[in-house]
């Protein structure tokens, strides 16, 4: 007589089949081996599957930061007012940056949300990348990575610009014509605008030079000056 041992373990055998299974287990070593074999297999699969390493710290980076603990009760009314104002600002910023039909392309990167894109880039480059929101007139459309850098694509003044961010290296011997950004940092005009700032090497290319320089100035405002 054939018993569905999976159904037996699931406790879904009919009462008659359950009774037959119990009787068989008492009488037949083969039946007991079969059941034990199934249990052992399921257990091995579970142990093997649970043994896989989970990069919890990197996954946690995708979640919003935990709120800070409340400091003092008497501050609460002021905190509530402040939080309400911050929430209103956040809503404006979020809906200002997100377009309907936001899509993500995991095979390459993420689009449209500068905050999420910066978290993704931070993970890829193993360094903190600030939110690179370059203004409401510069729409982030795509982020991708390759060759140790992350590339943020923006639609600005009707053209596409590519901003590459990577850990800083030695610039080439002749990086281009030296210029100064608005904050006084030295940059170079070659194939686009290129400069070192803090721990980053940044370049912006595509479209006309004046617009590339404008985006470089905006990006430079967002990046830390020191390493």
């Amino acid at each position: 007589m054939k018993i569905d041992w999976q159904a037996y373990l699931d406790n879904i055998l009919s009462p008659e089949d359950e009774e037959r299974a119990q009787q068989l287990l008492k009488e037949s070593p083969e039946a007991r081996r079969e059941l034990d074999g199934l249990k052992a297999f399921i257990s091995e699969v579970r142990i093997a599957g649970r043994s896989e390493e989970v990069p919890l710290d990197r996954l946690m980076a995708f979640l919003p930061a935990e709120p800070k603990p409340r400091r003092s009760l008497w501050l609460r009314p002021a905190m509530i007012t402040g939080l309400a104002a911050a929430a209103a600002l956040a809503i404006v910023l979020i809906f200002g940056n997100l377009r309907p039909g936001l899509t993500m392309d995991a095979s390459q990167g993420y689009v449209s949300d500068p905050h999420f894109a910066s978290q993704w880039a931070s993970k890829k480059l193993a360094m903190n990348v600030p939110d690179m929101a370059l203004g409401n007139d510069a729409q982030l459309t795509y982020v991708h990575e390759g060759n140790g850098r992350c590339c943020f694509d923006y639609e600005f003044r009707g053209e596409t610009f590519h901003m590459n961010v990577r850990p800083k290296r030695q610039l080439a011997a002749n990086p281009g014509k030296p210029i100064s950004l608005r904050n006084g940092l030295r940059a170079y005009f070659g194939r686009g605008v290129r400069w070192i700032q803090g721990p980053y090497e940044v370049s912006i290319a595509g479209g006309d030079r004046e617009s590339a320089l404008e985006l470089a100035n905006r990006a430079s405002q967002l990046l830390p000056v020191k390493a």
């Binding site: 041992w5 999976q6 159904a7 699931d10 083969e30 081996r33 079969e34 059941l35 034990d36 074999g37 199934l38 052992a40 297999f41 399921i42 091995e44 699969v45 579970r46 142990i47 093997a48 599957g49 649970r50 043994s51 896989e52 989970v54 990069p55 919890l56 990197r58 996954l59 946690m60 995708f62 979640l63 919003p64 935990e66 899509t103 993500m104 392309d105 995991a106 095979s107 993420y110 949300d113 999420f116 978290q119 993704w120 993970k123």
Partner: protein, 167 residues
């Protein structure tokens, strides 16, 4: 009641393991989990508050399918799953296989079979939750799990060894 983000945090290990089973790549699995969390937070109002894990796995599968559609140019080999005969299939008492071999063979199964084993045997989802996550009837969960276990067992063991009996 814990807030939504705290509940999501608790689901990270399961989500990653399921994503890795789907994508067969740890890097892609991380990206998929990130996308899933983003979508979950964005659409949390559509969550009915009941089975978070199933809901998240559904989102994860949708994200994976979107990824696959974008990579549609990559040729895929569809292996015909041969049902085989079970008979005294679980008879081998001394059967053991190392985790690495087992996981490798699990990854060699079809996506359907990989997922059902991952959800039911590894993550211990109930048949109801697995059915909801995979959007299939409960009866299909059972039958698919039966076939998947048999297939995995076959791949790992190579040949059935029966102690003291005939096959």
């Amino acid at each position: 009641m814990r807030d939504f983000e705290t509940q999501l945090r608790d689901e990270l290990p399961v989500l990653f393991r399921v994503a890795k089973r789907l994508a067969k790549s740890a890097d892609t699995a991380e990206d998929l989990v990130g996308q899933t969390l983003y979508a979950a937070i964005r659409f949390k109002d559509s969550f009915d508050g009941r089975h978070l894990r199933s809901w998240l796995i559904k989102i994860l599968r949708n994200e994976f399918n979107t990824l696959m559609r974008r990579e549609a140019s990559r040729p895929t080999l569809v292996l015909e799953e041969h049902e085989g005969e079970s008979e005294s299939f679980w008879d081998e008492v001394h059967w053991r296989v190392d985790a690495e071999t087992l996981l490798r063979e699990l990854d060699n199964l079809s996506e359907e079979h990989r997922m059902i084993i991952q959800l039911c045997d590894v993550e211990e989802l109930s048949y109801e939750d697995a059915a909801e996550a995979l959007d299939i009837p409960i009866g299909t969960v059972r039958s698919r799990l039966f076939r998947a276990r048999a297939k995995l067992r076959e791949r790992c063991a190579g040949q059935v060894f029966v102690e003291g009996g005939a096959k």
